[in-house]
């Protein structure tokens, strides 16, 4: 298992060093906005805010409520595309 975690760490490091992680992040954000996911999330946030009260809502409240819903609501097409890019990156840089 140690090898695994080492490997993962190595991969992550490479991702960051090559700037690929930033690019992937931007790509994901753009796709999520495009498909309306962000608007859905904002609507969810509105509900949370109305529930907790405008003055007293904290970041924690939002995170706890929103993150699981967010994960679930990402469309499959977006997931597929991102995974494709990640796999391509991994295949290209398989020997570190």
């Amino acid at each position: 298992m140690n090898k695994d975690s080492q490997m993962r760490a190595a991969i992550n490091q490479k991702l960051i060093e090559m700037g690929e992680r930033e690019r992937l992040k931007e790509l994901l954000r753009a796709k999520l906005v495009e498909c309306g996911w962000k608007d859905q999330m904002k609507a969810q946030c509105k509900d949370v805010i109305r529930e907790k009260g405008l003055e007293h809502v904290t970041v924690e409240d939002l995170v706890v409520e929103i993150t699981p819903k967010g994960r679930a609501l990402v469309p499959d097409s977006v997931k597929k595309e991102l995974l494709q890019r990640i796999r391509a990156f991994l295949a290209q840089h398989s020997t570190l």
Binding site: N12, K42, V59, L62, T67, L82, S94, T95
Partner: protein, 225 residues
């Protein structure tokens, strides 16, 4: 942690897939957190609910989707078939052609002077580009003693076009160059061979000239039949 050389080719594809999935879920979580921070800041700064409107206004400005209407609910071809009367020439013009017609009619638009001048040229008169200089030259011509029907030329300018069309015979278009007070007439060599060719100089002149006209103050070289 020291970075060891690890060859991934020895790993299962499933592990690689697992790694890819983990990376994806990290990225998604980043995105979610991003949204949370953004929303929270908007709430605390007070601009989160700015784009909300009440139900009544929403219904009032809803997009209209009926035939014959645009999205605002206005009739967009209401004046397609209406006709307007031009204040200048008192003609009845279609609404969509009204603005360009006014331009030409009043002589004020961008292209109206060009068109007016084209008409003058096809009437067989001038090649001057500016109608202002035409008028200037006319004034100069009028000053002279011998102004070969220049007064008529100035007055009957408008009827040029009409006149040219009414002749109903081949008209020889001749270029009249105004250079100061002197007019030069340029006729192509071909034309000279024609017998009985009438040289038409504007509306004031349908004469047959004899060759070698005695030079006048306004020297116009014209060839005769």
């Amino acid at each position: 942690m020291k970075m060891e050389e690890v060859s991934m080719s020895s790993l299962d594809n499933s592990k690689l897939e697992g790694v890819a999935q983990d990376i994806l879920s990290d990225l998604v979580e980043d995105a979610c957190l991003g949204v949370c921070f953004e929303v929270h800041r908007a709430v605390k700064q007070g601009y989160f609910f700015l784009d909300d409107t009440d139900q009544e206004s929403m219904r009032e400005f809803e997009i209209v989707d009926q035939p014959g209407l645009d999205v605002f609910g206005q009739v967009y071809n209401q004046w397609k078939n209406k006709e307007c009367v031009c204040p200048n020439c008192s003609r009845s013009i279609a609404a969509s052609r009204f603005a360009p017609h006014l331009e030409k009619c009043l002589g004020m638009g961008r292209n109206s002077s060009r068109i007016a001048n084209r008409r003058i040229v096809t009437g067989g008169n001038n090649t001057n580009n500016k109608s202002e200089s035409d008028q200037e030259d006319n004034d100069d011509v009028n000053d002279n003693d011998w102004s070969y029907g220049a007064e008529k030329k100035a007055k009957k300018r408008k009827s040029d076009k009409v006149f040219a069309h009414s002749l109903k015979q081949p008209i020889l278009l001749v270029r009249l160059y105004m250079f100061g007070n002197i007019a030069f007439v340029h006729i192509s060599m071909k034309a000279v061979h024609h017998q009985g060719t009438k040289i038409v100089l504007g509306s004031f002149l349908t004469r047959q000239f004899k060759k070698n006209n005695p030079p006048h103050k306004n020297h116009k070289d014209t060839h005769t039949q």
